[in-house]
């Protein structure tokens, strides 16, 4: 248990101005995430979970508190160790987003380049990092496509010709190609057909296990949380009302809202 904290949120909060007044989309969020841990952020619409995800991934700046990440130094003069993301330059954040982090968007079109082939999508991060051998790039793309159970024969096809589930798999491959330690996922299976969702969840579960990924998964679906995450945050109106072990929160909910949420879920 000597692993260092990978991601640390300290009283993080984000406010948007509404008619001259600040409205806190999320506030007071604190947790420490360790390597290999999966944290589910659960809540209904308007709970602030998506805003929180964007704060954690440094796509929004904190208006209160901070988010820290355990950087790996690129060179001697780089910041390393648990660093406040607000301190990082844009260049460093972009590099981070492209190497040590992944971000799986809810809609694949937001996370893919729709105008270039599947293979190009998977290879992009490597090319951005200086990979210059076409054959090797193609080889990497093929291998990752296999890993996420995509038909490698579709490597030169445009993502628009893929089904929704395939697009999500492509998105996942595109993110994992640089072996990130932390992956953010925004409702990764929402909107897909049920059977497609199921298979995608299986894939995610295996990948998280095999690659020892840490992940923050935003979802409104408690079953997804139970399947993928060891830990859970329950959010309502921008605040974390309950957090802890996933099975504890789901089987012994303490907060009134959590109890309501758990009891509202239909089981076939």
């Amino acid at each position: 248990m000597t692993a260092d904290v990978l991601l640390s949120a300290r009283d993080a909060g984000k406010a948007f101005m509404h008619q001259g007044q600040p409205r806190w989309a999320c506030r007071g969020v604190s947790f420490d995430l360790y390597p290999g841990e999966v944290l589910a952020v659960v809540g209904e619409s308007g709970s602030g979970k998506s805003t929180l995800l964007r704060l954690l991934a440094a796509r929004l700046a904190c208006d209160q508190g901070s988010v820290h990440y355990d950087l790996r130094a690129e060179s001697e003069r780089d910041a390393a160790g648990l660093t406040d993301l607000a301190m990082l330059s844009e260049a460093r954040l972009r590099w981070l987003a492209r190497t040590d982090w992944g971000f799986v968007e809810q809609h694949a079109r937001d996370g893919l380049r729709m105008a270039v082939s599947g293979g190009a999508n998977v290879g992009e991060r490597l090319m951005a990092l200086g990979a210059r051998h076409y054959g090797k790039l193609r080889g990497e793309a093929l291998s990752w496509m296999q890993r996420v159970e995509l038909d490698t024969g579709r490597i030169d096809d445009l993502p628009a010709t893929y089904s929704g589930g395939m697009q999500q798999r492509l998105q996942i491959a595109r993110n994992l190609v640089t072996h990130p330690r932390l992956v953010f996922m925004d409702e990764p299976t929402t909107g897909l057909d049920v059977s497609v969702q199921a298979r995608l969840l299986d894939l995610l579960r295996e990948l998280v296990d095999d690659l020892q990924l840490a992940a923050v998964v935003v979802t409104h679906d408690l079953a997804v949380a139970r399947l993928l995450a060891q830990r859970m945050l329950v959010m309502k109106d921008g605040l974390v009302v309950e957090q802890g072990l996933t099975d504890r929160v789901l089987d012994d909910p303490q907060h009134p809202y959590t109890q309501l949420l758990v009891s509202s879920v239909l089981t076939p």
């Binding site: 248990m1 089987d251 012994d252 309501l260």
Partner: protein
């Protein structure tokens, strides 16, 4: 000899916010101590909180007050206050749990479900599956079932998968919730043997045994949860 599992003034009360905050007290002030080789049988009528106590020991239910401590790799871990990743580590290596109903990850084959706890401990996939096969054979589950997900199995078959899954890593502390409830006489006997073997290996066991015969065969001590029911 140090105990492997202890509770200190453990209490549990449910608060049902959906019912205007109605309180449902389960038990109060339980002090337990289980030694290696012991099998503590929880007794009490249905609804007396036996399952809840077991779940509290596992960390699946939170404690309203008091502590649960598990002896994990030479030190005490307080399950009630430990960080989630610590609880997971304890569950992975030290604390096993066989629940009353099998809750499975869908679409995973029986053999992989049973092999998984070994793989999480670092055992190679090949070897883990071999051991899983041995356990399944021992529990009289036919090989043709191994590659199937257990969702369509009978209650008894599911329960046997559950037992294999919970016991395969020979955890030092084992929690059993009605392990023989859906089993026939033959399989009950197998399970009794497995429990006794675990005891002989030095595991500390806490269990709920509906069947008197089974309880007689495996328990070294009884603990009446009903006595600790908190008055409303």
């Amino acid at each position: 000899m140090t105990a492997l599992l202890e509770t200190l003034a453990l209490s549990k009360t449910f608060t049902l916010h959906g019912r205007g905050g109605q309180q449902l007290p389960v038990f109060a002030n339980i002090d337990l101590s289980v030694q290696p080789g012991e099998c503590l049988a929880l007794t009490g009528h249905s609804g007396s909180g036996k399952s809840s106590l077991l779940r509290c020991l596992y960390g699946n239910y939170g404690a309203s007050s008091g502590d649960v401590r598990v002896r994990h790799e030479g030190r005490w871990v307080n399950m009630t206050s430990a960080a989630p990743r610590e609880v997971f580590e304890v569950r992975r290596r030290t604390l096993g749990y066989v629940s009353q109903f099998l809750r499975v990850i869908p679409r995973v084959s029986t053999i992989d479900i049973v092999a998984d706890p070994l793989r999480r401990m670092g055992v190679a996939a090949e070897s883990a599956r071999e051991q899983a096969a041995q356990w399944l054979t021992r529990l009289n589950l036919q090989p043709h079932l191994w590659s199937l997900p257990p969702a369509t199995f009978s209650g008894g078959e599911q329960q046997r998968v559950n037992i294999a899954h919970g016991m395969i890593t020979a955890p030092p502390v084992l929690l059993l919730d009605e392990p023989t409830a859906s089993l026939d006489a033959d399989n009950r006997r197998v399970v009794v043997e497995l429990i006794r073997a675990a005891r002989a290996q030095g595991s500390a066991i806490v269990g709920i045994f509906h069947d008197d015969e089974v309880r007689e065969a495996v328990a070294t001590r009884r603990f009446d949860v009903e006595q600790y029911r908190k008055p409303i």
